[in-house]
């Protein structure tokens, strides 16, 4: 049996209109003559959402005993028995109480899809496993109900329900998301503009990545005709950037690391920091203090600090570049050479020669006196 078509409505937070849009599209399908049912709906006492559900057949929920209370859950076997063409199943990240067919609703949905039934469902971005830590850091709120990212990547369509943070807050203030007594608490906690702006950015990135990965998979499955087209199609896969910053344990390294990290962020890539230590050089005193500071900064930024013992900086850096697959090397500006050092080739040129072809070398300028505003 052919798997059903899976469409997910993704949002940055509660109240952006995921469920509303799912119902709207369900209604449109029903109007077009398809057999549509609501498998599970969580209207959250929102008037507009409830209005959209009117007229659509609802598969009754089942009551399940859980910790001395009865809760209402989706009746997955009933949905399968009913066998509609399309089932609308809200909140795919929901965790089921023990004793049901599956622990998670997205697993229930997998069965429904396997039965050849199309499914529309909804989820908020913070439920995605890979983004859970990031969202917790952004908002201070840890979401316990998570779903594997594969749920999103396996969907046939992902529709981002986008709303500006200001519009969402306006909806909240107007009582369209939570009842009056909960509005202020929501505004003071999760629904801060900066939280919502960050979540919106995460959602937009997630959908962009999903679109790109699906495009790549599709182009692999359907090889293009000419050689030029095949080369062009492989370009996005070849662009796997990795940044390496050469540092020394001294205060100026902090700025170089910050610059390198911002570049890494823009490229969406990982950052390695490398200090090439002279053989036998002890790590003590001021050097130890600065190495500790570099370790701390690397940990804060999610970068990796590598310490290599070698008497040739260029040879050591070139080896690390090859091992780590770095595509950029960032170095700080050297002080003007003195004495015999004037005769030696500058570090960036030596790095260019020693590193594999195609590796760029960037110099971060020293912040000189009088540069400030």
């Amino acid at each position: 049996m052919e798997r059903g078509h899976y469409k997910i409505f993704l949002g940055m937070a509660a109240g952006v209109g995921k469920t509303y849009r799912m119902l709207q599209e369900g209604n449109a399908e029903a109007d077009a003559g398809r057999d549509v049912v609501i498998g599970y709906l969580e209207p959250h006492r929102r008037e507009e959402t409830s209005a959209q559900a009117r007229g659509l057949e609802v598969v009754p929920r089942r009551r399940v005993a859980y910790r001395d209370v009865e809760v209402e859950e989706m009746d997955q076997p009933a949905v399968l028995r009913r066998a509609p063409e399309l089932a609308l199943i809200d909140e795919l990240a929901h965790a089921n109480p023990p004793g049901l067919e599956h622990g998670k609703r997205y697993e229930d949905i997998a069965d429904v899809l396997a039965a050849g039934i199309d499914v529309f469902s909804t989820v908020n971005v913070q439920h995605l496993e890979s983004l859970n830590d990031q969202v917790t850091e952004l908002t201070g709120v840890r979401v316990r109900e998570t779903v594997p990212d594969s749920v999103l990547s396996d969907a046939d369509e992902v529709v981002l329900i986008d709303l500006t943070p200001e519009a969402l807050v306006a909806r909240l203030r107007a009582g369209k998301i939570y009842p009056g007594e909960n509005i202020q608490a929501a505004l003071d906690n999760f629904f801060k503009i900066e939280n919502l702006a960050a979540l919106r950015e995460v959602s937009l990135r997630q959908v962009a990545e999903d679109v790109e990965s699906k495009r790549l998979v599709q182009s692999e499955a359907e090889p293009l005709g000419t050689r030029e087209e095949r080369v062009a199609s492989s370009v996005p896969k070849a662009v796997g950037e990795r940044l390496l910053a050469l540092v020394r344990p001294q205060p100026s390294a902090q700025r170089l690391v910050r610059r390198a990290w911002r570049s890494a962020q823009r490229l969406g890539t990982d950052l390695d920091l490398l200090w090439v230590k002279k053989p036998g050089q002890p790590i003590e005193g001021e050097v130890e203090r600065q190495v500790t500071a570099l370790r701390q900064l690397a940990s804060v930024l999610g970068a990796t600090l590598l310490i290599e013992e070698h008497d040739d900086l260029v040879a050591a850096a070139a080896r690390v570049v090859r091992e780590r697959g770095s595509t950029y090397i960032m170095v700080g500006e050297s002080l003007p050479p003195r004495g015999f050092a004037r005769l030696r080739e500058p570090l960036p040129q030596r790095l260019m020669r020693a590193a594999p072809p195609g590796v760029d070398v960037r110099i971060v300028a020293h912040r000189g006196e009088g540069e400030g505003s």
């Binding site: 850091e137 700025r255 911002r262 962020q265 203090r289 900064l297 930024l301 009088g370 505003s373």
Partner: protein, 197 residues
């Protein structure tokens, strides 16, 4: 004959020049070594000349920064601006905090720019903790300071709270300067440069 006498006469002069060069070289080497030893010797290394400027949020009182810079310049000290980041309890304390780092970076850049313009050396930090006070405690445990310059909380909510300042006064092993924002003190240094005022 003449040639011979000239060569014979040059021998003592050559010896003298070589001896002089040797003496001058040794004296120069001794002076250089002494200067280096005095500069980087153990007595100097133990003296810490650091001024801590802890801050939170996305702006810092211009008054506090200027005061810290004035002190650092007068005492030839290194200024250590430190962004304090609170890590939610649900995350490991030592986890990466890119969102907080992204907030800290432009502000640290702006502070460094002002410091460099005034000839003050800077050694920046980003410190994590469960609370701002916890971050401060970790930083004080790791580094040594002569002074701590800290802006009190403004009406806008930037800066450390009153009880954190009391804690700092009681616990910091350094001189603590708390700068109370004056009613006219509305100037801030932000990621985009100076704020209003």
């Amino acid at each position: 004959m003449i040639e011979f006498s000239l060569v014979r006469g040059a021998v003592p002069a050559e010896h003298f020049l070589v001896a002089l060069a040797l003496v001058l070289g040794l004296a120069g080497g001794y002076l250089l070594a002494r200067r280096r030893w005095t500069k980087g010797g153990p007595a100097e290394a133990e003296a810490v000349h650091q001024i801590l400027l802890p801050f939170t949020g996305t702006e810092i009182s211009r008054r506090a920064l200027d005061a810290a810079l004035r002190l650092a310049r007068a005492e030839d000290a290194v200024l250590m601006p430190a962004y304090l980041a609170s890590v939610p309890k649900q995350l490991p304390l030592d986890c990466a905090i890119p969102a907080e780092a992204a907030k800290a970076m432009p502000l640290l850049e702006a502070i460094e720019q002002r410091a460099t313009a005034q000839g003050v050396a800077v050694d920046s930090r980003i410190e994590r903790g469960r609370t701002y006070r916890h971050a401060l405690r970790r930083l004080l445990g790791r580094e040594q300071f002569d002074r701590v310059v800290v802006p009190a909380r403004t009406a806008g909510g930037a800066g450390l709270a009153g009880d954190d300042l009391v804690w700092l006064l009681e616990r910091a092993p350094a001189e603590v300067l708390i700068l109370r924002p004056g009613p006219e003190d509305t100037r801030f240094v932000t990621a985009n440069g100076s704020g209003p005022g």
